[in-house]
């Protein structure tokens, strides 16, 4: 074992491994893509930074949204489509939303086919629960551990295929051939720090979001935005990057659990929000939908109550589910019960919870073709939270899990289709591989340098918290950008100690580059969108701006290596979709939706 080894990077060897398709990420999106691609008979490699089954997908609680119409028979894809666009303030890619709403039911039934078990209705069908801003009762669930059921089903299915899974392996760079096609990646194993050069005919990025750029977050250490930055560095276009979702209800106390998610399922099951005056304040923000308004609205309401002095002892508002009683809670929300009892000494069947917005999800991401999930870079595909377009300015609860299934499958098939007709060489200059290895081991092997990556991450998180929170204004955003750029200037001085053997400090010295880059992009995009729309709430502007409502901001690395931002017009919706909104009422039968189903 080498400790404090000062070999230079070039002396680290590497292994070369080949697959038709390399999938980066083993959350719901990556695994669903792997299943699709192996079904086409291709050789598939899946890499994940954690162990299999530990991605954010496992933490999802509330449910997966799909218009099965099992509880409300009036539901159909049309209403799901419209709800998704309304919540996204029409910045959404309407074609993605259409495919999504139509295919989600089949993807859920497919999980059932593979052994997933959801709660049942009295008629013996998959049960559904209401959720914020979904017109109908739409979230298929099993208690409050839906994500666990979903990821287990997908991982067990994946393990029954020929796909190879590389656990605890991190990708640091995508390789492109002379034509600019993506033909592989460099990765290192977290366990031993061994390098692997993956050669592939296509790469699917399914790395999830970047909630770790903020301090108060429901995301795990993995959410550092690696995939979005890998793609950006390879020339991919990013869309709606200013849109970051603050979930209305994160835990606030004790400090160690701050930001941990309190599932929207609590409100779905009838939980009330109250301020310190005991007032059910949602009346003042959305009297019609109350606690089940869209997430951006409820998050701002909670935030406003606290800023105006009606907060709880630890700076939150109260969320009360005591009326369900112990038995009801143990049936519907057992995980939440346990989480509060064990970590906060609160018995939620007797006392209200204290909650405050927590950073949860990133709507923006890599821009993809709706049908195939191809990016603008040949050979590069993206699916899941790292992708952008489906959710627009705000994501509906439960729409992420079905997004993973619908577009994970489409990415797997899209990449497979591309690979079939592809005879491009995966060869690249060996110096490219050597340079990348050198870059990766540099923080460990250098003698100088005095920046601690954990501390830089903390500073960045504080800056984002302060300047790119859920209420924004130009001065503060600019100040935030200044802080981010100052941190960026310090990155070349990062130094870590120890060996390449499972060394979190060294791993953090890689992640910090991605965290800083994606933060910079978000703040730059947030400066451009000078209006209030969904998750982007500019206090220095009065409301939505109709002109900005017609465009997406596209971010792309320019020739100088800087983040170039372009306004791109949203194409008009075709008649068959725009007509849905003219009808006024939302009563589109499940019948028509059912016809799309192959099950």
């Amino acid at each position: 074992m080498e400790r404090n080894g000062n070999t230079n990077g070039a002396r680290h060897g590497h292994e070369v491994l080949e697959h038709d398709i390399l999938i980066i990420g083993a959350g719901g999106a990556g695994l669903r893509a792997a299943i699709a691609a192996t079904q086409r008979g291709l050789s598939v490699g899946v890499v994940t930074k954690s162990l299999l089954g530990k991605a954010h997908t496992v933490m999802a609680e509330g449910g997966v949204a799909a218009a099965l119409g099992n509880v409300d028979s009036e539901d159909g894809w049309q209403t799901h489509f419209m709800d998704t666009l309304k919540a996204g303030k029409f910045l959404n890619n309407w074609r993605m939303a259409e495919l999504f709403a139509k295919e989600a039911p089949d993807r859920v039934y497919e999980l059932e086919q593979w052994g997933a078990l959801f709660n049942r209705t009295p008629e013996g069908k998959i049960s559904q629960r209401p959720f914020g801003a979904h017109t109908y009762t739409r979230l298929c669930h099993v208690g409050d551990r839906t994500g666990l059921e979903m990821i287990r089903t997908l991982q067990e299915r994946t393990l029954a295929t020929e796909a190879k899974v590389y656990m605890e392996t991190s990708v640091t760079k995508l390789f492109q051939n002379d034509e600019g096609r993506v033909v592989g990646a460099l990765a290192y194993t977290r366990e031993a720090g061994k390098f692997i050069h993956f050669k592939a005919k296509a790469v699917i990025v399914a790395t999830g979001g970047w909630g770790r750029i903020y301090k108060v977050t429901s995301n795990s250490w993995e959410g550092t935005g690696d995939g979005v930055v890998l793609a950006y560095n390879a020339g991919a276009e990013l869309v709606d990057m200013e849109m970051v979702q603050f979930h209305p209800t994160g835990m606030v106390w004790p400090p160690g659990v701050r930001g941990l998610l309190v599932t929207e399922g609590v409100r779905g099951e009838g939980g009330f929000l109250r301020n310190s005056d005991g007032e059910r304040f949602m009346e003042n923000y959305d009297a019609e939908r109350m606690e089940l308004s869209s997430r951006d609205v409820v998050a701002r309401a909670n935030y406003t109550e606290v800023t105006e002095g009606r907060g709880s002892e630890h700076g939150g508002v109260f969320l009360d589910i005591t009326h369900l009683g112990y038995n009801g809670i143990m049936k519907k929300l057992p995980t939440m019960y346990e989480q509060f009892l064990k970590l906060a000494d609160i018995d939620i069947s007797k006392e209200p919870m204290e909650v405050f917005p927590t950073i949860h999800y990133t709507m923006g991401g890599i821009k993809v073709d709706p049908e195939t999930c191809a990016t603008n870079v040949p050979g590069l595909y993206a699916a899941g939270e790292v992708g952008g377009g489906l959710h627009g300015a705000n994501r509906l609860g439960g729409n992420s899990l079905s997004d993973l299934l619908v577009f994970g499958r489409r990415a797997g098939e899209g990449a497979a289709e591309y690979v079939k007709g592809n005879g491009y060489s995966a060869e690249i200059e060996s110096s490219v591989v050597e340079d990348e290895k050198k870059r990766v081991v540099h923080p460990l092997e250098r003698q100088d340098g005095d920046e601690n990556p954990f501390h830089l991450q903390q500073e960045l998180q504080e800056a984002m918290m302060e300047h790119a929170n859920l209420m924004r204004n130009e001065d503060s955003l600019k100040e935030g950008l200044g802080k981010i750029l100052a941190i960026k200037d310090r990155l070349p001085n990062v130094k870590v100690h120890g060996s390449t053997l499972f060394n979190p400090g060294w791993h953090a010295s890689q992640d910090i580059h991605n965290l800083v880059q994606v933060s910079e992009i978000i703040v730059r995009a947030a400066l451009e969108r000078t209006e209030r729309r969904g998750a982007q709430w500019r206090l220095d502007y009065d409301g939505p701006d109709d002109e900005l409502g017609k465009i997406n901001f596209i971010v792309k690395r320019d020739q100088q290596g800087e983040a170039g931002i372009e306004k791109r017009e949203i194409p008009p919706m075709p008649d068959h979709l725009s007509r849905l909104f003219d009808d006024g009422d939302d009563k589109h039968g499940g019948e028509q939706g059912g016809k799309e189903s192959q099950f």
């Binding site: 954690s50 162990l51 089954g53 530990k54 496992v58 933490m59 119409g69 039934y109 059932e112 086919q113 593979w114 052994g115 078990l117 049942r120 013996g124 069908k125 208690g143 666990l148 287990r152 299915r157 029954a160 899974v165 656990m167 366990e191 108060v216 795990s220 250490w221 993995e222 106390w253 004790p254 400090p255 659990v257 998610l261 606290v306 630890h314 700076g315 989480q339 064990k342 970590l343 906060a344 405050f356 601690n452 954990f454 501390h455 903390q458 504080e462 302060e466 929170n469 209420m471 100690h497 120890g498 060996s499 499972f502 060394n503 979190p504 400090g505 060294w506 059912g594 016809k595 099950f599």
Partner: protein, 290 residues
């Protein structure tokens, strides 16, 4: 202090401010905790003592991440959810397997806190052990198989008992504590309690058509090695009654059906009756018109 106040002012709520801006409530003035943590790798190692400032409600994982950020950047530990949902952070505290994100420091009331990696698996480094063997067993498990097309007609009462084994978060602490693995190292012949839990739901799923008794008895399952000590049940953070609800019913099934395959066939057919209507649910017979 002034700086902290300023920061708190800028944030809408102290729920978004720096924890230490909140010093009076959170950090306990002058108080500290001491932990002894195993530092080493496959070749050996030793306990190292760390002292960290006490914060109210702190879990052992918080303490370890504090040490990582401030004192030992290369201290290896696994974690993801920090909420006892993902099963990543399993390790041993004072010799007992625990989820580090669920173990409150205060619970140890000033006693020694000695943190080691799980011992039934090879150590990689510090608190991280090599659990990849579990994924090999997972691959060897006979997956869910059915000849029916979803959507299935299944009632709450058909599937209720399957929710329990499905709660498994794959922390592998039951594997860690089981003497068949920990002491007798039967990793080649014994799947371990986590996989009996998985086989239980597979076997009891009303739509599954596979036969697993051979696998459980003489394949990789090796269920005969289990002598029902219940140690696994005691440590399961998901509260699964591994012995009573998974292992014993599987052992009975193996005893019954291994020698009498007709019983297996009977059960598979019977299993497909809807309890509501008493009718056999056949292929595609469960379509309820979408």
């Amino acid at each position: 202090m002034e700086e902290q106040e300023a920061q708190q002012k800028d944030m809408a709520s102290k729920a978004h401010a720096d924890v230490h801006a909140d010093e009076e409530d959170a950090a306990r003035e002058g108080e500290s905790y001491k932990l002894r943590i195993f530092r080493g790798d496959a070749e050996g190692g030793r306990e190292v003592e760390y002292e960290i400032p006490a914060v109210e409600g702190m879990v052992v994982l918080d303490a370890i991440l504090y040490i990582q950020a401030h004192q030992a950047g290369d201290l290896a530990v696994r974690w993801n959810c920090k909420a006892a949902h993902c099963g990543s952070c399993s390790a041993e505290i004072n010799g007992k397997p625990k989820l580090l994100c669920k173990a409150r420091v205060e619970e140890y009331g000033g006693q020694d806190i000695r943190v080691h990696p799980m011992r039934a698996f090879p150590v990689i480094k510090d608190l991280v052990s090599d659990v990849s063997w579990n994924y090999e067993v997972a691959r060897s498990t006979i997956p869910f198989t059915t000849d029916e097309q979803a959507p299935f007609e299944m009632y709450e009462e058909d599937v209720e008992r399957l929710y329990e084994p499905k709660k498994c978060i794959e922390c592998f602490m039951c594997q860690d504590v089981c003497h068949v693995l920990r002491t007798h190292q039967k990793h080649e012949e014994f799947a371990g309690p986590r996989f009996f839990v998985r086989n239980q739901w597979l076997e009891m799923h009303p739509k599954d058509t596979e036969r697993r008794v051979e696998y459980l008895k003489e394949g990789r399952g090796g269920i005969g090695y289990c002598n029902i000590t219940k140690c696994c049940t005691e440590v399961c953070p998901a509260g699964i009654h591994i012995t009573d609800n998974s292992i014993i019913p599987l052992k009975e099934r193996v005893a019954d059906e291994y020698y009498d395959p007709a019983k297996w066939l009977m059960r598979k057919i019977r299993g497909r009756r809807s309890p509501k209507t008493g009718q056999i649910i056949g292929r595609n017979g469960n379509r309820n018109g979408g």
